[in-house]
Point group: C2
Chain length 435, copies 2
C-alpha cells in the first residue's frame, strides 16, 4: 500500500464523516457495536487474537515480553462485551460535532458562532492492546475524524481483524473504508510523521524516549500520553483510615496503570496516617522504599535511592518520603512529578485549597484516589488516552479533545469600515451556547 | 544574559502571575496602561522608536525595507493611545484564570471541576511592530503567563524601551521583572526552541518558511500565525451591491492584513455581482487578474497565471476566477486556501449553509467582509495573532487561547474500587459552569 495515497483517501473520507448527521453517526457506532457482538465476527477476532497470543507466550517464556503486556494483549468474550458497551455509550452520547461553543451578537444582524468541528486525519500510535483499537476508532467516528492507526506489533493479527470489521461497517454506511488506515510497521510510522500536509494530530501513547523521538521528528502537533509519576501527599490533618483506603486503591487496584500512585509524601505531623498506609500496603504485599526519616519510623523498610523519586514502577512498589510541610511537598511534586495526577489527603480545607491551586498537573485531587483520573470515570464516555501535554487537551481525552472549532459569522453585507469611534459600535453580547 | 537562567526565573515568576487574584491582575494591567500614558515614559519610548525609524528609513531608501514595514514600525501618540485603550479593556474584562469550564457531580460528595489555568512560559516571535509587544505582554498577564519575546530586529530599540517599562510595572507589583524575557537575536530564538522543558508554547508570527523552520527545529508545540490566502465566493444568488461593498472592504481597507481577500471566485450565474465588484475595485485602483472566462467578460483585465491562485499579495491586487458552481468553489478553496478566512456572498440560505458547513477554515463568513476576522472585532479584547493551526486555538487568539485547564476533584475518601456494576454507580450530572 502507498501510505500517501491511503492518507489522501482517508482525508476525503474524513470529510464524509464530518458531515454525518447526529443520527447517522449514532447508527454507524451502533452498527460497529452490533458487528463486534455477532458470534461469527467474534470467532474471527478471537482466532486472530489466539495467533498473537501464541507468539506472545513464546516470547514471554523466553523472557522477552512481560506478563503485564501479555495480559493486556489477550481478548476474551468479557473484554469484548465491555468494549461493545463502551461503543454503545458513545453512540447514545449527545452529538458533539457542530455544537455551538460561543454565540455572540457582534451587531444587529451580525452573529458570530464558534462551532466544534472535526480535525481531519488523526495518527494514533498505541501499545499492544486490541481493545484500544476499538476505543480509538469509535472516538474518532464520534468526533468525525479519520484515523491512521499503529498498534503494538504483538497485536498485529488482532488489530487486522478488528480494523477489517470496522471497515465493513464503514462500507455498509457508504463511507470509504480507508477512513481507517492500519499501519503495519515502524517504517510507516516514520513516513506518517513526515506527512504534516495530511495528518492534523499525532496521538502518541508510549515511553518517554519514544515520545521525544516523535516530537523531534515531526512538524505535526503531538498529543502525548506519557509517564504517570503520581503522588499522594498526606497532610498533617489527614484522616488515617481514609489515607490507607486511598493508598491501597491508588497503588493496588491496577499497578500498571499510568494513574497509579508511585510516591507517597507525608507531613512530619501525619505519622499516624503514614502508619495506617504502611500497614495496609504491606498487607497487600506492596514493596515499600522509604527515605531516611521514613525508615527511622519503620526500621524494617527498604531504603529508597534518589532514582526512586523519578521512577514509574508500574508495579506493586511505592516510594515514601517525609516532607517538612506542604511547601516542600509542592516542590517535590514539581521537581519529580510528570504533571499527570497528584492528590492530597487532608481534613484541613486551607491546605487542600493551596494544593489544588498550586500543583500544575493535569489532574489534582483532594481526598480521592489518583485512579479516578480516567475518561470513563470523568464522564467523557471513553478516552483516547490521558494527555500529559498542556496544549489542546489535558488529562483524560475524550471526544472533545479530538475536535477543533471554526468561527462562523452570519451578516447582511456588513463591512469593517462601517465601525469606528464615530460610526457604528460593536455590541458584543453573548447569547446562551450549547456548552 | 544566560537564556536558560532567565527562563528559569520566568518560570518562577509565571507561578506568581498565575496566583494573582482578579483585582491584583487588573491592577497590574491598569498600571501598565498608566505607565504608557505618562508623558515622560512616552518621550522615552518615542525617542527609542525614532532611533529605529532613522535606521529603517535608510534601509527603505536603499530598497531593503518595504514602506509597509516602516509604517508598521512607527509609533506615535495616537498609536500609543490605542494600545493603552486595549490594555484598559483587558483590565476590565472578567477574570479568565480559574474559571470553571466543567462542573460535574461524579457521585455524592465527589465533585469534578475543570478550571482554566495559565500555561507557564510562552515564547513569542513576531514582526517589527512595537505595539504588538504591548498587546502580547498584556494578553500574557491577563492569562497569567510569563513570556519570552523576540520582535523584528528593526524594532529593537522600541522593544527594549517598552519591555523596560513593563518590567518596572512588574517590579512595582513585587513580581520578578524576568516574567518578561526579551530575546535580542536569532541565535537566542534557536536556543529557545530547544528548551522544551521550560517553554510551553511557541507563538510564531511570520512567513511560511520561518514557521516550517520553527516546527522542524523544536519539540515545543507551535501555534502559527501564517499565510492568509482568503477567498470571497459570489454565489449566483449574490446581491450585486453587497458584493461590491464587501469586496472593497475586504481588499482595500488594509491590503497588508492577513484577513484581506486575495481571490474572488464567481459563479457563472453571478455575472452582475462580478461586474459590480470589478467596477468598484477598479475605482479603488486595485489591479485585477482574471482567469480566461473572467477576461472574456472583462477584456481589459490582465490574465492571471496559475501562481496567482496561491499568492498572498498583501497589496492592492486581486485574482478573479469563474467557477461552474459551489462544489468547484469549495474545491478551489480547499486546494489553494490557507484555512484562514473565507466568505460567501449569497441570498440563497441553502448555498450559504453548505459553504459554512464544508469550508474547513478557521473563519467562514456569510455576507460579511473577511476583515471581521480579528480578536477585537470578535469581542476577545485583543489578539496575540490569528492561528492558522487547528489545534488548541484557531482563528483570532485572545486570552482563552493562552490558557490550558486542570481537572480538580474534591472527594471524601472515595476509591475507584467502590464503583462497579454490582457496587456504587457514577451519577455524572453536570452543574452550571462559568461558560
Amino acid at each position: 500500500m502507498n501510505l500517501r495515497e491511503s492518507l489522501l483517501a482517508a482525508r476525503a473520507a474524513a470529510r464524509r464523516l464530518a458531515l454525518l448527521s447526529g443520527p447517522e453517526r449514532s447508527a454507524l457506532l451502533s452498527d460497529f457495536a452490533a458487528g463486534l457482538s455477532q458470534p461469527e465476527n467474534q470467532r474471527t477476532v478471537l482466532a486472530a487474537n489466539a495467533e498473537d497470543m501464541a507468539r506472545a507466550r513464546e516470547e514471554e517464556a523466553a523472557g522477552r515480553l512481560s506478563s503485564a503486556l501479555v495480559k493486556r494483549l489477550s481478548l476474551d468474550a468479557k473484554k469484548i462485551a465491555t468494549t461493545v458497551d463502551g461503543i454503545s455509550q458513545l453512540a447514545r452520547m449527545p452529538e458533539l460535532v457542530g455544537r455551538t461553543l460561543t454565540h455572540r451578537i457582534l451587531d444587529h444582524g451580525l452573529i458570530l458562532k464558534r462551532v466544534s468541528s472535526p480535525l481531519g486525519v488523526l495518527g494514533v500510535v498505541f501499545e499492544a492492546r486490541p481493545d484500544a483499537l476499538v476505543q480509538i476508532t469509535s472516538l474518532a467516528w464520534k468526533s468525525g475524524n479519520a484515523v491512521a492507526l499503529k498498534g503494538g506489533r504483538e497485536a498485529a493479527a488482532s488489530n487486522r481483524a478488528l480494523a477489517a470489521l470496522a471497515q465493513q461497517v464503514l462500507a455498509k454506511h457508504d463511507i470509504d473504508p480507508r477512513a481507517i488506515v492500519l499501519l503495519e510497521d515502524r517504517a510507516e510510522v516514520e513516513s506518517l510523521l513526515g506527512m504534516d500536509d495530511l495528518v492534523e494530530m499525532i496521538i502518541a501513547r508510549g515511553s518517554s524516549p519514544f515520545i521525544r523521538h516523535v516530537r523531534g521528528h515531526s512538524r505535526i502537533p503531538v498529543m502525548a500520553h506519557a509517564d504517570g509519576i503520581c503522588h499522594v501527599y498526606l497532610h498533617a490533618s489527614a484522616d488515617a483510615d481514609m489515607a490507607a483506603r486511598i493508598l491501597v486503591d491508588a497503588k493496588c487496584s491496577y499497578p500498571a496503570a499510568c494513574n497509579a500512585v508511585e510516591t507517597l509524601l507525608w507531613d512530619a505531623g501525619a505519622g499516624a496516617a503514614l502508619d495506617a498506609c504502611v500497614k495496609a500496603l504491606s498487607e497487600q504485599k506492596v514493596e515499600l522504599r522509604g527515605c531516611a526519616e521514613t525508615c527511622k519510623r519503620h526500621p524494617q523498610m527498604k531504603a529508597a535511592s534518589e532514582a526512586d523519586w523519578d521512577t514509574e514502577y508500574g508495579d506493586l512498589v511505592l516510594s515514601i518520603r517525609q516532607v517538612p510541610g506542604i511547601a516542600e511537598a509542592l516542590a517535590h511534586i514539581e521537581e519529580h512529578g510528570s504533571s499527570h495526577t497528584d492528590a492530597i489527603v487532608a481534613q484541613d480545607a486551607e491546605a487542600a485549597g493551596r494544593f489544588l491551586a498550586e500543583v500544575d498537573s493535569a489532574c489534582v485531587f483532594h481526598n480521592a484516589s489518583t485512579r479516578f483520573s480516567d475518561g470513563y470515570r470523568f464522564g467523557l464516555g471513553a478516552e483516547v488516552g490521558i494527555s500529559t501535554d498542556k496544549l489542546h487537551a489535558r488529562g483524560p481525552v475524550g471526544v472533545e479533545g479530538l475536535c477543533t472549532y471554526r468561527w462562523l459569522l452570519h451578516g447582511r453585507g456588513q463591512c469593517t469600515t462601517d465601525y469606528s469611534p464615530e460610526g457604528r459600535h460593536y455590541i458584543h453580547k453573548d447569547l446562551p451556547s450549547d456548552g
